[in-house]
């Protein structure tokens, strides 16, 4: 990888090597991840490469092509101003396609008293924003993108990457967090406006601590507030859709997911504001066994 600049990042159990033709995105990442553990041996589970689409595009209208150990052929290049998004997408992609040590659930997670609340749903459901909000209200943030389910123990492992806020969620969190917790504002990305938040320090310091899954929610933002019971079959099917490696794990994944569905209480939660969601969550949480 001659000619590339390098940065090593550790997020939960996963270790990444980021290699980039440009130094700026790595400096940006190093600054946002400065509280995370440093690499002591330059080992990495995955490599993410940020390189020019064509050699001259390093200088002329620079555009970042994402590649790595695992990649999608149709990943479109991004302008250099969005290289932080490219790096985050690259890391997510490696996890989604390559991680085998845990069952990956596309879910946010927060912890209290050793128990984890998981929130999963489609993009725009508010799972990421809710996890960021709860992280400021006494919960430990464990991740806004992937919950890692240990197939041997049934415990949830933390993967506390930068929190990715989209569109309206950015202003909502800017109202309650200091500016030094935010990354750069990236407007007009393929996912809309994006701004990252650095997770609270305790989320990073305690990222090796696991939690027992205690409640699963399917939040849906923008509907009249209601909690709905869900059948286990529906939960199972939706979680197979929310997992990027369920099929790859085979019987291990099946046993991990059936145990999860059998033991973790689940509700669908419609809500119209963060405060409303917090009240509903607190009420559900207080009634858990």
């Amino acid at each position: 990888m001659n000619g590339l600049n390098h940065l090593f990042l550790t997020v939960g159990p996963a270790r990444f090597r980021l290699a980039s033709s440009w130094q700026e995105p790595l400096d940006q990442l190093a600054s946002l991840y400065k509280t995370y553990p440093a690499s002591y041996d330059d080992y990495a589970d995955f490599t993410v490469r940020l390189e020019p689409e064509k050699p001259w595009r390093r200088f002329v209208r620079p555009s970042v092509h994402i590649s790595g150990d695992y990649w999608l052929p149709d990943a479109a290049p991004l302008p250099l101003s969005q290289s932080l998004l490219a790096a985050e997408m690259g890391m997510n992609l490696q996890m989604a396609l390559g991680w085998r040590r845990h069952l990956l659930l596309h879910a946010s997670s927060v912890e209290k008293d050793g128990k984890a609340l998981l929130m999963t749903g489609l993009s725009g459901s508010g799972k990421s924003t809710l996890s960021a909000m709860l992280a400021e209200k006494g919960w430990r943030f464990m991740g806004d993108e992937f919950a890692l389910l240990n197939p041997d123990t049934g415990m949830v492992h933390s993967f506390p990457r930068l929190i990715s806020l989209k569109n309206e969620a950015i202003a909502a969190m800017q109202a309650i967090l200091p500016i030094n917790r935010f990354g750069p504002m990236m407007k007009g990305t393929p996912k809309g406006d994006i701004r990252h938040i650095i997770p609270p320090l305790n989320a990073v310091n305690r990222m090796k601590e696991t939690a027992k899954p205690a409640l699963l929610l399917f939040p849906r933002f923008g509907y009249d507030p209601v909690l709905r019971d869900m059948g286990k079959s529906e939960v199972f099917v939706r979680l197979t859709q929310a997992s990027t490696n369920y099929v790859a794990l085979g019987e291990t994944g099946f046993r991990a997911l059936t145990r999860f569905v059998d033991t973790v209480p689940t509700k669908a939660m419609d809500y119209q504001s963060g405060e409303q969601a917090e009240e509903m969550i607190d009420s559900l949480w207080s009634k858990l066994p």
């Binding site: 059948g231 099917v237 099929v247 019987e251 099946f254 059936t258 059998d262």
Partner: protein, 95 residues
């Protein structure tokens, strides 16, 4: 002569009941099937035997709350055809 059927051996499948549905994980393919009644019951009464559809219907009426009738036989046959296409049951020659 009636067609004979045989279910995949139980050690090649993991059955896991959930509310109204049952999951069947097929170890050979890694595929998870989600099935409703009477499929789990059909697989149960087939056990490891080589049997006809009529014999399955008879066993179901004996062991489960299912009246033996032409309708019941049609339902069992339709499910057997589906199970064959999924690879959970196979047709056996020589019946």
């Amino acid at each position: 002569m009636s067609q004979l059927y045989r279910a995949a051996t139980p050690n090649k499948l993991i059955q896991h009941p959930l509310d109204s549905m049952t999951l069947i994980f097929q170890k050979s393919s890694g595929i998870t099937h989600i099935v409703a009644d009477p499929v789990p019951a059909i697989l149960e009464v087939m056990a490891e035997d080589t049997v006809t559809a009529d014999a399955i219907t008879h066993r179901l009426s004996a062991g489960f709350d299912l009246e033996e009738s032409a309708d019941a036989a049609d339902i069992v046959l339709a499910r057997l055809v589906e199970l064959c296409s999924l690879g959970l049951v196979e047709q056996v020659d020589g019946g």
